[in-house]
């Protein structure tokens, strides 16, 4: 059975590009773009790896990450956090809230593939 990556990202064209490269690599990919309901989506279909954008409509990625780390079912979920380049404070927050990996935009496709593979074990 293919492993599942959930993309929580509001940029449609990033979703489309990542969906393409991840599917080609053998992953089952789903996506969600609203921060407010992202946690609900995860509880109905838990992913093997979560790619989470820091800046989302209605609720920040950091806030979502904090809730995931406070919840038993998702405490250990591998989370790759995406933020904008140069935002030092974002990196600190990602580490503080327990992101498994951290990547700044713009990133290379190969980088993201390697990181997702590593997180899935």
């Amino acid at each position: 059975m293919r492993k599942h990556v959930l993309l929580v990202e509001d940029e449609a064209n990033i979703i489309e590009a990542l969906r393409f490269i991840l599917q080609r690599d053998g992953w089952h990919v789903s996506s969600h773009s609203d921060g407010a309901t992202a946690v609900d989506v995860m509880s109905s279909e838990p992913p093997d790896v979560l790619i989470l954008d820091a800046m989302l409509p209605n609720r920040s990625g950091f806030d979502i990450l904090r809730e995931l780390r406070d919840t038993d079912a998702t405490r250990e979920l591998p989370v790759l956090m995406l933020t904008a380049k140069g935002q030092t404070k974002d990196r600190e927050l990602a580490e503080q809230y327990g992101a498994s990996a951290f990547m700044t935009k713009p990133f290379a496709n190969a980088e993201i593939l390697e990181t997702v593979r590593a997180l899935a074990g």
Partner: protein, 439 residues
């Protein structure tokens, strides 16, 4: 009996600091030298007329002799000493220091205040760069678009066997993202150039505060149309934080009142409509100069004229001192505006009135009717320097009713400022445009 407040000690410190002899001071205030000596050694209390006389002779407030150093000065000096170990060791000699060196004390306190003010400015500017919500959102948007472009372009370059459906989708996405990136970058540059929503940047500079204050009031002050109460408006202005910002606004409002007294709203707005905003006719009708008409037209609410009137003023150096921009005609925050504006032609030719249609090169070029004039004055007298004040008012051609009188001559081509002007091949360009060169 000893005077526990050490008023006498302060009298002595102040007297010696001024280099006056005890006998001389005693004579001046009408007491014996031996009695003054008792006072100075805190063996006699003083108050009332005698205290006032001594204070007057020693050129200090009576309260400073009784209470010591003024509370504000003492607080400021303690604040200055805080963190300096050597100064803190001598903190109990603060009154003695102030008594002996009042001028140096005041200077030290003033410099400490100034240092705090500068630190605050640096913090504000730094905070603005790192936490400004518009900048943060815009940068995130630009970087997200760049990410999408980079990922998509990599797929196209690295996947030779891509099927037609994906190929079409990725080409369309690239095109959309390229367009979006150009828009985002342009908005970002324009924001930085104009100072953005100045309201959000309160505290950055006095000029920002002044801009925010004008924008918040839409350049019109209804209260001042039938009152002179400038203070009421200033007190209720949250954007005016610094005294310099306050001062800029106060000067502006006082001139607003003067202009309004010469050009009452109802009569002037009616005449402006009748004369199709011709500033020369309005100046003649109301017996005022052209610049007064320009300034007043820019304060008339849009609904009275049917459209908004923009205005920009500059001094003899070309520095913009007042900016009311309109959609399609951005006015840069600093002085680096387009050299082809009629404003600068008028500045070079005082006494000449210019009337032109100008096309401003922005993403969608727009045409504006402009009026520009430069007046000179000799505020320091006939032998003093000549001071030039130049103004350009403008309004969009597309907002005008049909049949509106248009100026003759060629349409002048100009832009906002070189840095954000997309016009290609401009002979007056002073620096490359980030819009053309980057995108």
């Amino acid at each position: 009996m000893l005077n526990p407040n050490h008023t006498g000690s302060r009298v002595r410190q102040r007297r010696t600091a001024l280099g006056r002899k005890q006998a001389d001071l005693a004579r001046a205030i009408g007491i014996s030298a031996s009695y003054l000596n008792l006072i100075e050694h805190n063996r006699r209390g003083i108050g009332g007329g005698l205290l006032n006389a001594i204070a007057r002779e020693l050129q200090v407030e009576p309260g400073e002799l009784v209470d010591g150093v003024s509370a504000d000065l003492a607080r400021e000096l303690r604040n200055a000493a805080d963190g300096h170990a050597e100064a803190m060791l001598e903190i109990d000699r603060l009154e003695e220091f102030v008594g002996q060196f009042p001028g140096w004390s005041a200077l030290l306190a003033q410099m400490n205040q100034r240092e705090k003010g500068l630190e605050h400015t640096i913090e504000t500017l730094s905070d603005r760069l790192t936490h400004d919500p518009f900048l943060s959102a815009s940068l995130h948007d630009v970087l997200s678009t760049v990410t999408a472009i980079r990922s998509t372009a990599s797929i196209l370059a690295e996947t030779p066997d891509l099927n037609q459906d994906w190929l079409s989708r990725f080409h369309r996405n690239l095109n959309d993202d390229g367009e979006r990136l150009a828009r985002g970058a342009e908005a970002l540059v324009r924001y930085l150039d104009e100072g953005g929503e100045a309201r959000k940047t309160t505290g950055a500079t006095p000029a920002d505060e002044f801009d925010a204050f004008l924008k918040a009031n839409q350049f019109h002050f209804a209260v001042l149309e039938d009152s002179d109460d400038v203070a009421e408006i200033l007190q209720a202005a949250p954007d005016l934080v610094t005294s310099a910002g306050h001062s800029l606004a106060e000067t502006y409002l006082q001139r607003y009142v003067q202009d309004r007294s010469m050009l009452p709203l109802d009569a002037f707005a009616q005449a402006a409509r009748t004369e199709a905003l011709d500033p020369a006719k309005l100046a003649l009708q109301f017996g005022v100069d052209l610049l007064t008409v320009f300034r007043r037209l820019a304060t008339i609410p849009k609904e009275r004229l049917g459209f908004d009137v923009g205005l920009v003023l500059c001094d003899g150096s070309g520095t913009l001192t007042y900016r009311k921009s309109l959609t399609g005609f951005s006015l840069p925050r600093f002085g680096a505006a387009c050299p082809l504006w009629p404003l600068y032609q008028a500045l070079a030719r005082p006494g000449t009135a210019l009337h032109q249609v100008v096309e401003i090169a922005e993403r969608t070029p727009q045409r504006f009717i402009t009026y520009a004039a430069c007046q000179t004055s000799l505020p320091a007298g006939f032998s003093g320097p000549e001071v030039r004040s130049t103004a350009m008012m403008f309004f969009p051609v597309e907002a005008l009713p049909s049949g509106y009188p248009m100026p003759g001559g060629q349409i002048a081509l100009a832009g906002p400022s070189c840095r954000i002007c997309p016009r290609v091949g401009c002979v007056a360009r002073r620096e490359p445009s980030v819009l053309n060169d980057a995108f």
